[in-house]
């Protein structure tokens, strides 16, 4: 059974009351509950059906500018009292930091109309998908596919009278696959999409068909010929990885330590003027978007970069105080990169020698933004045409340069349900093969 609003309110009232008794000046209670129905495909066959419930209660105590946090999933009265005492003890063990705080007074309540998925419909959609793959791409092997329906509720209360409740339900589909012909196989690839309903076949959503369809063309591969500083067309899925690297440099750790390559850049150009990047967790078309930030504020949609100019960092309440900057309106994710004017075909036609980068398998970029890694599931582009699939091909560059050097953005976008991202053409990346 899903936890009701009244039940979560009862648990939070008990937790808040118990926290108040400790004498701490600032306290917060954060209760999450989830119910997941999940169907799994292994080796091409539907093989597992899971139903999972979970609850997490996170308590925060700030006492004499010392902070402690504890999470438990036991919400009976005795467990709550025990957790409150432990949280208080953790706070006392901490060091004073005047930047510790809790969110201000806000009230919000959003409820779902229903929380039960149709298990038969889920099964039929997944069965249809496995049959479609077998029929359309017989060389493709479905290593694993997971279709689930999640209902998540989050209820946040604190000693500043904040009371925020948000309930969301969405479907998520993840598939990992490769293609095999006799003894040769392609590299694996994967795709993840989210949906508000199951009205469309899974094959038709986001990049599912496109990426699975490319797999057979990646069984026979060659290394990139030689080494050059070339042009790269980055697919939406791969661009998301680079956006995540970029967002980590907008966030607390890199900003507080001033190791971010984007520090002191607010209002300045940090990317090509073709780049406008927003984080839209409240967009109704985003399946599974959040409405409450990690630190207990109502989330808002946010523009991070507008026409290449940095408009906001992704700082929490704590990070904002530490950096003497504004707190961000949300925690990022649910990214939308504005489409451009070029067609993808025209962009490919502009590449003399380079590659279509579908997946980047690389080390974590250094703090200066330098990265290097392997171009996976990618294709050589020569004289404006996509040629053979690539293997044993490395790329290296700098994240900041990658965004600065974008010379074209496609008008086509990939809607994964949790992001809307176009293809981009960027230059100055070192490509080395054999």
């Amino acid at each position: 059974m899903m936890m009701s609003y009244d039940k979560s309110l009862e648990i939070l009232k008990k937790s808040c009351s118990s926290l108040k008794e400790t004498g701490a000046e600032k306290t917060a209670c954060d209760l999450s509950h989830s119910k997941t129905h999940e169907l799994n495909v292994d080796g091409g066959e539907i093989s597992l059906f899971r139903t999972i419930f979970n609850t997490e209660l996170t308590l925060t105590v700030i006492k004499d500018a010392r902070k402690g946090t504890m999470t438990t999933n036991r919400t009976d009265e005795a467990s709550i009292r025990e957790t409150v005492q432990e949280t208080y003890d953790i706070a006392l063990s901490s060091e004073k930091d005047p930047a510790y705080d809790i969110s201000g007074h806000n009230i919000m309540k959003t409820e779902l109309s229903g929380d039960e998925p149709d298990a038969d419909r889920m099964y039929e959609r997944l069965k249809e998908f496995t049959a479609d793959v077998r029929q359309k791409y017989p060389e493709v092997i479905l290593e694993q596919a997971i279709l689930d329906y999640k209902v998540l509720t989050r209820h946040y209360k604190n000693s500043n009278s904040a009371d925020l409740y948000h309930e969301r339900g969405f479907y998520e589909f993840t598939v990992m696959f490769s293609a095999k012909r006799e003894a040769k196989s392609s590299s694996f690839n994967y795709v993840n999409v989210t949906m508000n309903d199951l009205s469309r076949p899974l094959f038709d959503i986001g990049g599912v068909d496109r990426l699975i369809g490319e797999a057979p063309f990646l069984i026979e591969t060659k290394p990139f010929p030689g080494k050059c500083v070339g042009q790269i067309i980055v697919t939406p899925e791969c661009l998301m990885d680079f956006i995540m690297f970029l967002s980590s440099h907008l966030s607390d750790r890199a900003m507080i330590t001033r190791t971010s390559f984007l520090k002191d850049s607010l209002g300045k150009g940090v990317a090509s003027p073709l780049v406008t990047l927003r984080s839209l967790p409240l967009d109704p078309s985003m399946a599974g978007g959040y409405a409450i930030t990690h630190d207990g504020f109502p989330a808002e949609n946010l523009t991070l970069i507008e026409k290449g100019v940095l408009k906001s960092y992704l700082l929490s309440q704590y990070g904002a105080v530490k950096c003497n900057l504004d707190r961000a309106a949300n925690n990022g994710y649910f990214y939308v990169l504005e489409p451009g004017d070029d067609s993808l075909d025209a962009m490919i036609g502009r590449v003399k020698k380079g590659l279509l980068l579908t997946r980047f398998s690389g080390g974590n970029p250094g703090e200066n933004g330098d990265f290097s890694g392997v171009a996976k599931n990618s294709f050589l582009i020569e004289n404006g045409e996509i040629k053979q699939g690539l293997s044993e091909t490395m790329i290296s560059g700098n994240i900041k340069d990658l965004f600065q050097n974008i010379t074209a953005v496609s008008r086509e976008t990939n809607d994964s349900g949790h992001s809307r991202i176009p293809w981009v053409l960027t230059e100055g990346i070192t490509i080395s093969g054999k």
Binding site: I52, T72, N73
Partner: protein, 473 residues
């Protein structure tokens, strides 16, 4: 060191098992019933400020049911009698839902049972929260005082106690408490041409009290980390291309796990892994032997011991490669049935709400007969790769590892340090180029594997001389 039973924890473990015993009559199909509690502690200091001081205790019950070739699973944090029965019923219902539609009529999973009781709670007195933060502040204070040119420092304590009680319809009954305590230090130096960072991890199998408490014990190791960072800040980018390299234990361990181990997991083999065509074939130099150890390696306890897995199978070592020949895959009960092997005790779940998957335990290349110094001396122009950041590999065994510490080798001697780089190759090709293997091995203390569920693993090995692609600038 951990190993002896802690009386109070033992009592809790027995209580958990006896509680599960009460539900034996509720099993109507092949059923695994598991109680699990994961207790995490995370304290993180960033430039002296405590940015995280959290504990996390997540527990609950799960049931997994096998019916006619398909599985049902359910989990709940509530563990009262009626909740456990509801979980067993839901898992059974889910299995029957799929069975009625898939109609596979598969053979039953009959592999006997195993029993075990392995509690590695510390026998030291438990440290109070204030003692732990005090220890970390001392470490942080030493870093600040000793290395004033450091631009950023982070000190993190990350501990995980994983406690499981398992009862199966086949008669397996096992309890385990496997702890891991890690101290992660990261330092950043910015000399004006961009920040350069380096990290190290200390601790491993055991609880905080088994590894930590006296800050002075770590000062020498911190000094060494700083010296390496200084060298790295003045380092060079390697020359891109294929080179002779020495991959030290840290990279050999990731190679064993990521590039070879995953391709031999039977579910990945069924998913199209290239290793599916290599059984009993030569896949590496005869100098290479690779084993997935269950709990004890070369007479010593492993970083992540598994005595009875989460399907109730006794953990046994798996010799994956013997003298260059691929000898076995890693199995759970279902894939063992498919391939006609015996299960090997590799089915493990990360949290109470996770189903067991085929996972490596402690995967290592076995030591050889060469001395590390001789291996370095044998290279005219190449690289000594000492520390990895992360690694990825795929079903073709093509791999990529981030390298965050290494040195060039010029005329048989170590030269300048390297800045961050990446190496890549096709593991089953690269293993054929192995020409020397050192006579000492070590385990990485902090291995994590992210296959659907993140779970601690052991990764280890000796130093290995081979040829590999290295990324430059």
């Amino acid at each position: 060191m951990p190993g002896d039973y802690n009386e109070s924890a033992k009592k809790e473990g027995i209580l958990n098992l006896e509680y599960l015993d009460g539900f034996r009559d509720d099993f109507s199909e092949y059923t695994e019933l598991r109680y699990q509690k994961n207790s995490n502690l995370r304290i993180s200091l960033l430039n002296g400020d405590i940015v995280a001081n959290t504990r996390n205790r997540i527990s609950g019950i799960s049931a997994r049911v096998y019916a006619g070739g398909v599985w049902g699973f359910s989990a709940s944090p509530e563990t009262a009698h009626e909740d456990v029965r509801a979980v067993i019923r839901a898992a059974t219902r889910n299995a029957q839902f799929l069975d009625s539609r898939e109609n596979r009529n598969a053979m039953p999973l009959a592999y006997g049972s195993a029993r075990g009781y392995h509690d590695f709670s510390t026998i030291q007195g438990k440290a109070a929260p204030k003692e732990i933060t005090g220890f970390l502040r001392e470490i942080d204070g030493y870093l600040k005082k000793s290395y004033p040119d450091i631009s950023a420092r982070s000190v993190t304590m990350a501990n995980l106690d994983m406690e499981k009680a398992l009862l199966t319809s086949e008669g397996s009954r096992a309890y385990s408490m496997i702890p891991r305590a890690l101290l992660v230090i990261s330092l950043t130096l910015d000399k004006g041409d961009g920040p350069v960072d380096l990290y190290d991890v200390y601790g491993g199998f055991g609880q905080y009290e088994d590894h930590f408490g006296i800050a002075e014990d770590f000062y020498e190791r911190l000094d060494k980390l700083y010296v390496k960072l200084k060298a790295k800040s003045e380092g060079i980018y390697p020359e891109a291309g294929e080179h002779d390299v020495i991959m030290d234990a840290d990279l050999a361990g990731i190679l064993a796990h990521e590039a070879i181990g995953h391709t031999t997991e039977a579910d990945i083999v069924l998913g199209g892994s290239v290793a599916g065509d290599y059984l009993n074939k030569e896949v590496a130099s005869p100098l290479v032997s690779l084993t997935d150890f269950a709990h004890t390696a070369l007479g010593k306890p492993c970083p992540v011991p598994v005595y009875v897995d989460d399907e109730g199978t006794e953990g046994e070592d798996v010799a994956i490669i013997e003298k260059g020949v691929l000898k076995s895959y890693l199995f759970n009960k279902e894939t063992a049935l498919h391939f006609g092997f015996a299960p090997t005790g590799n089915a493990r779940a990360s949290e109470y709400s996770d189903e067991p998957l085929i996972r490596m335990r402690n995967t290592a290349i076995l030591p050889g007969k060469d001395r590390l110094g001789d291996m370095i001396a044998s290279i005219d122009h190449g690289y000594y790769l000492a520390r990895a950041s992360n690694g990825q590999a795929d079903t073709t065994s093509e791999f990529m590892f981030g390298v965050v510490m290494g040195y060039e080798i010029i005329n048989g001697k170590l030269g300048k340090a390297l800045k961050n780089t990446t190496i890549s190759g096709v593991a089953f090709d690269m293993l054929r180029t192995v020409s020397m293997v050192s006579d000492e091995m070590s385990w990485s203390c902090a291995g994590m594997c992210g296959k659907k569920q993140a779970i601690p693993v052991g990764m280890g090995g000796p130093a290995v001389k081979c040829r590999v692609n290295i990324g430059g600038k």
